[in-house]
């Protein structure tokens, strides 16, 4: 027996739009089943995970804070994924962006208010991520090295570099030997948007990134080239796009946005560098990118869905004593459901007996 995928002749755009919602519903049911196996009430879990965060204004702000870096990184990943390039190293680009972006804020600790520090920090963050992202692209173009392996392994290099910096040269001398840098001055931090809560201006940057990405992909020749390069590399060449240049550009934009997300995290909510600043945002963003179907608007929604699972997971750990790993499990289930829903919208499944049709 084997399974066969047969293309469906007519798929309406409504069906395509509804597919992720079905996926979320099925993922919820499967998640509920797991909670039940753990001996807790799925309804109580559902309430803690999803209802409370969505009805509490403070929690809503928290969701936006968590969604902010995911939106920025995932919109960046779209440039690579649409071009069939596999940037798995956004986590590393994020960290390098945070390091680059912290140079000026750290150099201005203890100084008078200087308005240009924050914009320069953000730009340097993006630049750092872009340079770091260009490494796998360059190696791929020049030597044919797999960008998947290089970008992934560079994550560890970035993590250990940050670790070295905060324990060594950049450690706060007045920090009781804790591995952290000094706190940034307030002029080097992103302003808060609400008087109460933690919502900061990063969400505006994130939504701006999504809007610009939508325009670039759908209206500009460059975005057209990215799409064509992903669909048919020979057609991209025929169209006049240089594959090598496209590869490097896509990786630099992707890395640049990951780096921007890194410095937004640091200047938006952490306020200093420490050994762990991300906790896997760069990897989670891959789920967000696919949850949003590599579409900027979808990504904004996808980022909020993932932020909800993270926030709800923390709440469930506290009130229901459910393990935090459950959140990761649920994110995995969600990704599988979304991919399956997309596949089943495009194809129908047929079970065939015997080895051949």
């Amino acid at each position: 027996m084997r399974l066969e995928l047969i293309p469906r002749s007519d798929v309406s755009s409504l069906q395509r739009t509804l597919a992720p919602l079905w996926a979320i519903l099925i993922a919820l049911l499967m998640g509920g089943l797991i909670v039940a196996f753990l001996g807790r009430s799925p309804l109580a879990a559902f309430k803690v995970y999803f209802l409370e965060p969505l009805t509490d204004p403070w929690a809503l702000q928290e969701l936006a804070v968590k969604a902010t870096p995911l939106i920025i990184i995932a919109t960046g990943l779209v440039y690579c994924f649409r071009a069939n390039l596999w940037n798995i190293g956004a986590e590393g680009q994020l960290i390098v962006g945070a390091i680059f972006g912290s140079i000026v804020p750290l150099a201005t600790v203890g100084m008078e208010s200087t308005p240009w520090v924050l914009p320069v920090a953000l730009l340097l963050g993006a630049l750092g991520g872009a340079l770091y992202g260009s490494i796998p692209a360059f190696l791929r173009v020049r030597f044919g090295v797999s960008e998947i392996l290089v970008s992934l392994m560079l994550v560890y290099v970035a993590e250990l570099t940050l670790d070295y910096l905060v324990r060594g040269p950049w450690r706060d001398p007045k920090g009781f030997n804790f591995p952290t840098t000094p706190n940034f001055e307030s002029f080097a931090l992103l302003p808060n948007l609400a008087s109460e809560g933690r919502l900061h201006a990063g969400i505006i940057i994130a939504l701006l990134c999504a809007a610009v990405t939508w325009f670039v992909l759908n209206r500009t020749l460059f975005g057209f080239g990215i799409r064509v390069a992903g669909e048919a590399p020979r057609a991209a060449r025929f169209s006049g796009f240089n594959a090598n240049r496209m590869t490097i550009a896509a990786f630099m934009i992707s890395g640049g946005l990951a780096g921007l997300a890194g410095i937004v995290e640091v200047t938006g909510q952490i306020g200093q560098l420490k050994p762990a600043i991300s906790g896997g945002l760069g990897f989670t963003a891959i789920i967000v990118a696919y949850l949003g179907r590599l579409h900027p608007v979808g990504i904004v929604f996808g980022a909020f869905v993932i932020a909800l699972t993270v926030y709800g997971g923390e709440a469930a750990q506290i009130t229901l004593k459910l393990p935090l790993d459950l959140t990761r499990t649920f994110q995995g289930i969600l990704l599988f459901c979304v991919l399956a829903a997309d596949a089943l919208t495009t194809y129908k499944l047929r079970i065939v007996r015997g080895l051949h049709a």
Binding site: E231, A232, R234, A235, F238, S239, G240, N242, A357
Partner: protein, 511 residues
């Protein structure tokens, strides 16, 4: 034909075969009988249902209705292995060979386990002698010509001792001489009692070779005939369903040289690519220069360098309107007034997942007003796309349909129209009517004739000699990366061209 024993009882009967794919009925109650010792032609345009029927006979597809009788008994074919065990052999149009393995190794992988290479070598030589299929079992496949590669496929099928051999467009990659050798082999096979199902759209060879013909159109059998008693024109009109309009010729007034190659030498881009050797060529405004040659002799390498998809080694090796542009990219060359159309529609000349207007953007963003300042103006792309659809009679489900939803012929009309509607001064086009229906082919060829009449220099790379002789003014031949001096098509003999395609005497022990 009648002298074969049991010729009256058919070997294989297809009875009311129906195969549907969604809404499409690819085979609609097809009935057909095959007798031992006959060469039976299966004719039809692309999409007529030939491939589907053949896949059913090879056990790759199961029919939705109808039955297959083998020597009078109903059978089901669950896999190609079933079909082979029964005695049905298949020679596909596209070779499935490992380039880096030897002839014998390629054959061994398709044989049941336990047949040693030494035994196999002997049997390959025996078969070669018996049927005129000369092959050296120890040669690596990548060193062989297309004709020799095809012989591997045939030998591979013959080693299973088939009673029915199916050949899908076997001459599409062969020179005229190689085709003649193949026909002799097939006639010998038929004489020894094998039934042959011969699929082709080259009607001249069908009228020469085949005893009976079944003609499909739109998934149905529309006629059965004895091809030896019909003219190719009559069979063609049966295939298409309507009479095919003749081409209108033109006054030929060649003007200045518009496209030149000057001593172009280029190393191959990859391991099995072809090096271009000292290619010099002039194409004048107002003429169509046909470049003949067996596939894989450097045509795609030449196209890449002409179009600028790959840069030439030196600036002066390619000239458009007298300007050196060997190092320019494809868009720069387009702005100089050149247009290009590669052979492969899907994934090269067009992107199946993109809409038709987006496919206009693909090759015209540099030479039209659809992408001012690198921002795409979709209304303009749409307007240009609609103009192409109207002018070149493109049948599409909708003006915004994805290119992949169009039939091969209609997509080809669209991409040809896309290049021609910009009135290029130079057009380089690779196999303009490859795999399109006869109606579309006539429209495309007429469009090329009209374009040349308006003063454009057209370089047409084609593997179809009939096409070159029908519309070109001069013909050159590419072989192993070298191009011969062009000849006038009205004075050159076909046999001479055929000989050049194999590199003259001695270049191949095939001819």
């Amino acid at each position: 034909m009648a002298e074969v024993e049991g010729a009256n009882a058919p070997l294989c009967v297809l009875d009311g075969i129906v195969k549907r794919f969604g809404d499409l009925t690819a085979n609609d109650h097809i009935s057909l009988s095959l007798r031992a010792g006959e060469i039976h032609a299966l004719l039809g345009e692309n999409g007529a249902g030939k491939s589907t029927l053949v896949k059913i006979l090879d056990g790759l597809l199961a029919p939705d209705e109808g039955r297959i009788l083998w020597q009078g008994r109903p059978i089901t074919l669950a896999s190609p292995e079933d079909a082979a065990t029964l005695g049905i052999g298949m020679v596909f149009q596209h070779f499935s060979l490992f380039d880096n393995l030897t002839v014998a190794e390629n054959i061994a992988v398709a044989m049941p386990a336990g047949v040693g290479l030494r035994v196999l070598n002997k049997r390959i030589m025996e078969l070669g002698e018996r049927y005129g299929l000369a092959l050296d079992p120890k040669r690596e496949v990548w060193t062989l010509s297309a004709g020799e590669r095809q012989r591997i496929e045939i030998v591979r099928a013959l080693l299973r001792e088939p009673k029915l051999l199916i050949l899908d467009e076997p001459t599409s990659v062969l020179t005229p001489q190689e085709a003649d050798t193949l026909f002799a082999t097939l006639e010998e096979l038929a004489r020894q009692g094998c039934a042959l199902l011969y699929i082709s759209h080259k009607l001249e060879e069908v009228t020469r070779l085949c005893d009976r013909a079944t003609i499909l159109r739109g998934g149905r059998v529309v006629a059965m005939c004895n091809p030896r008693e019909e003219t190719p024109q009559k069979i063609a009109s049966l295939m298409v369903g309507t009479a095919i309009p003749p081409l209108h010729d033109r006054d030929n007034r060649p003007a200045d040289v518009r496209l030149s190659l000057r001593r172009l030498n280029a190393a191959p881009a990859d391991l099995h690519g072809i090096a271009l050797k000292d290619v010099s060529l002039d194409v004048r405004g107002g003429e169509i220069l046909g470049l003949a040659g067996v596939a894989g002799n450097g045509q795609s390498e030449l196209f890449e360098i002409l179009s600028g998809e790959r840069a030439a080694p030196q600036r002066g090796m390619v000239l458009i309107d007298g300007e050196e542009c060997g190092l320019d990219g494809i868009d720069t060359r387009r702005r100089k007034g050149a247009a290009f159309l590669p052979e492969e529609r899907n994934g090269h000349a067009a992107v199946g997942a993109l809409s038709l207007p987006n496919n206009v953007v693909l090759s015209r963003h540099a030479t039209s007003d659809i992408a001012p300042r690198n921002v795409i103006a979709f209304d303009r792309a749409r307007a240009l796309s609609d103009a192409i659809i109207a002018k070149f009679d493109v049948r599409t489900p909708s003006p915004l349909a994805e290119a992949g939803k169009l039939s091969g012929g209609n997509l080809q009309k669209f991409v040809v129209g896309r290049e021609i509607i910009g009135n290029p001064r130079v057009l380089v086009i690779d196999n303009p009517t490859w795999g399109v229906d006869a109606g579309a082919a006539v429209l495309i060829r007429q469009a090329l004739i009209d374009l040349a009449a308006a003063g454009t220099a057209v370089l047409m790379i084609s593997q179809d000699l009939d096409e070159i002789f029908a519309i070109a003014d001069r013909i050159a031949v590419i072989h192993h990366g070298a191009v011969t001096a062009p000849r006038n098509v009205r004075t050159v003999a076909r046999e001479e061209i055929g000989l050049m395609m194999t590199g003259g005497q001695g270049a191949s022990h095939a001819a």
